[in-house]
């Protein structure tokens, strides 16, 4: 029993702005920037949670291999990847439900290896909320406090305060089954944070909600998290969710980490084709490297000519995948040419006016489809079937090693 972790010092109740500033500073210096945190901000423990070389094996299936990352105090981390990438397994290991076959998780300097889930003081919000259906909303929230042997009057005060925070104090005596999806999520949040956890885990928090409610709840969760200086690890397969909520994103694939960075970093400097495709929309095409050096690459694409781009570990003769984001492409008159831009002739297939942007589907000379976003008000003046030239900056072109 004496191994259970102390609740974190509540005195750190910094306001949300300070928290955000600290986390950004943390992210910046983790990212390699030499700047230190501003002196008026208390020193943030950069490796509050250390995850080192996690290995999880189910029979012959390697669910996690060599997963390592740190979470700073009060930082929000998103584990992002498709299903089966190991993000949920990582969460289960942190919570203590899955014993890793190798590596360890350290929280505030102490190893969690072999520590039962009930002794970790980790709050979890489950994908399906997992509210106890036979208990009232109040009893659900009070459960963790009762397990900690808190005095009844104190339980009542703290649980009601937690319910007030999620604006559900009036529903304390209702059963969870009578509440809407959004309300259930707020109860689950209150139940997870009322125990003053050392770490908050969020498992796909919005996947059970419909699109409209999802947006609403995202804003709501951001607001709730803002008033709560707790290190948070969230699991999601939705890149938009990850970018909206996380200070840093850990992109995972097939049990391995692909890239760790701030949303901005991963978006503007993806280190792999997978990360680039997963964060943000993209157009890709395959070719062969004809020239490569430290400054960039030139890739020959059959039927389209040469495309120049940023080099990501390619040398001459390699197969390459070229990636361009739809919003970086502009439509120009046929025959347009400029030194700093890649140009490709194309034919307009479809023009979709979507309100906040116009999506133009074009077909390239080699038959591949390309998507271009135009943001002009009222939509650009292009007709279906028109011949155009696609132009985009060389610096907006990513070239990654191709498959095979």
């Amino acid at each position: 029993m004496d191994r259970s972790l102390e609740p974190r010092d509540r005195a750190l109740d910094a306001n949300s702005q300070q928290r955000a500033a600290a986390a950004t500073a943390a992210a910046r210096s983790i990212a390699g920037g030499a700047r230190s945190a501003e002196p008026h901000i208390e020193i943030v423990n950069m490796s509050y949670i250390e995850i080192q070389d996690l290995e999880v094996r189910y029979g012959n299936f390697q669910a996690l291999s060599g997963v390592s990352f740190n979470v700073a105090e009060r930082e929000r981390i998103c584990l992002l990847g498709p299903s089966g990438c190991g993000k949920t397994t990582t969460l289960q290991v942190m919570a203590g439900f899955v014993a890793p076959s190798g590596g360890e998780v350290r929280l505030a300097g102490r190893s969690l290896t072999g520590l039962a889930p009930e002794k970790r003081n980790i709050g979890i919000m489950f994908q399906n909320y997992a509210l106890f259906p036979h208990m009232t909303v109040f009893d659900n929230v009070a459960f963790g406090l009762r397990m900690r042997g808190v005095a009844p009057s104190e339980i009542k005060r703290q649980a009601m305060a937690a319910l007030e925070r999620v604006r559900l104090a009036h529903a304390a005596q209702k059963m969870p089954g009578m509440m809407s999806g959004g309300e259930q999520q707020r109860i689950a949040f209150a139940r997870a944070v009322v125990i003053k956890p050392s770490l908050l885990l969020l498992d796909e928090p919005f996947s059970n909600l419909d699109a409209r409610l999802r947006q609403e709840m995202r804003g709501e969760l951001l607001e709730l998290l803002a008033g709560l200086p707790i290190a948070t690890v969230m699991v999601t397969h939705d890149q938009e969710e990850a970018m909206a909520i996380a200070d840093r994103i850990v992109v995972m694939r097939a049990g391995r980490i692909q890239q760790i960075g701030t949303p901005g970093e991963i978006y503007s400097s993806p280190m792999s084709l997978f990360a680039a495709r997963f964060i943000g929309d993209s157009n890709t095409f395959a070719g062969k490297v004809t020239k490569a050096d430290g400054n960039g690459v030139e890739v020959e694409i059959a039927g389209l000519g040469h495309i120049r781009g940023r080099n990501h570990g390619l040398s001459a003769g390699d197969k390459a995948e070229i990636l361009v984001r739809p919003q970086h492409v502009t439509l120009a008159k046929p025959g347009f040419a400029e030194g700093q831009r890649n140009v490709v002739p194309a034919t307009v297939e479809r023009v979709l006016f979507l309100g906040h942007r116009t999506e133009i589907h074009v077909r390239l000379g080699d038959g591949t489809m390309f998507i271009v976003w135009a943001q002009e008000h009222g939509g650009p003046d292009v007709q279906q079937g028109a011949a155009v030239t696609l132009a985009w900056n060389v610096t907006d072109t990513f070239a990654f090693p191709g498959a095979g």
Binding site: A95, F126, A130, L131, F132, F143, A172
Partner: protein, 297 residues
């Protein structure tokens, strides 16, 4: 298919056939039984139609009969309790195990049900006898110096009934346990509950409907069980079903047998009903309690 695509009338039409079978083969005989139980019997004449509660009075005022009724209720309650306690670990194992382990456990549970209960009880005879396996083992291990009397005792009857009826309890608890979201237990653990507390506060309360069904089945089947208690208990440890058999088949006193059958039916339903009533009162009290808390805030 959604259930409400067929109207209520449609369902009633479909239910008519089983309802008719139920009426003909159950309700009619039970009414006949009630009617018969009020008749009189004379060994030289046979059944004399009458409306006379004499046999009921005879049964309910005689310590001998009441003792047997008491034993029947007692062994049934004990078998219900024993199956309930044994069924939880079995149900958990049944749900968590996979492949051949799960299959063999299911087979082991169902086997006494598909085997004739006479064969099963003879099996217990061999195990529980003075020189049976249980006694040999107990004496060999030095637990007792003299053979335990297990045959022809209430304990023996409870052991036999528990064995035969365990499958009903296990499967109904397993069925309700299967419906419980695995994340609930994880949530409880993450909030600080030990595995045992998680079972007590989360798993157990959520399996109550299954436990209730299991108890109802095991208790009523125990009350009316014949082969097992008769073979293990013999004539020294009579239960009510044995008396009914004796009266109807050996003494041909059908009215008295019918009266005892009615007593058996009423006491079974009465005990089940009392439990239901108790649950309802408690539920209401809990609701009032919640309202009181609400008002007190």
């Amino acid at each position: 298919m959604r259930l409400d695509t067929i109207s209520l009338k449609g369902w009633l039409a479909l239910a008519l056939v089983p309802l008719a079978i139920f009426a003909v083969f159950y309700v009619v005989p039970v009414f006949q039984l009630f009617w018969l139980s009020l008749s009189r019997f004379d060994p030289s004449v046979g059944i004399i139609p009458a409306v006379d509660p004499g046999y009921f009075i005879e049964f309910l005022t005689d310590g001998y009969y009441l003792g047997i009724l008491g034993r029947t209720v007692f062994v049934s309650l004990a078998a219900t309790l024993a199956t309930a306690i044994l069924a939880y670990p079995l149900a958990i194992y049944l749900l968590t195990s996979k492949g051949w382990r799960q299959t063999s456990l299911l087979v082991a549970l169902v086997l006494p049900l598909v085997t004739s209960s006479i064969v099963v009880s003879y099996g217990w005879l061999i195990l529980l006898g003075q020189k049976g396996l249980v006694n040999n083992l107990a004496m060999g291990l030095g637990i007792t110096s003299e053979p335990l009397q297990l045959m022809y005792t209430d304990t023996g009857i409870v052991i036999g009934l528990t064995h035969v009826l365990l499958v009903f309890m296990s499967l109904s608890i397993a069925a309700s346990m299967q419906g419980i979201d695995a994340n609930l237990a994880k949530a409880a653990r993450s909030l600080g509950a030990t595995p045992w507390t998680t079972f007590r506060k989360i798993t157990f309360p959520l399996t109550l409907p299954g436990l209730r069904t299991g108890c109802l089945l095991v208790f009523s089947l125990s009350m009316s069980a014949y082969a097992t208690p008769v073979l293990i208990g013999g004539s020294r440890r009579k239960v009510l079903s044995y008396l009914i058999y004796q009266q109807s088949s050996s003494l041909l006193n059908w009215p008295f047998a019918a009266a005892m059958a009615v007593v058996l039916l009423v006491s079974t339903l009465g005990i089940v009903g009392l439990v239901r009533l108790y649950e309802r009162v408690r539920k209401n009290a809990a609701r009032h309690g919640a309202v009181a808390v609400e008002a007190g805030r």
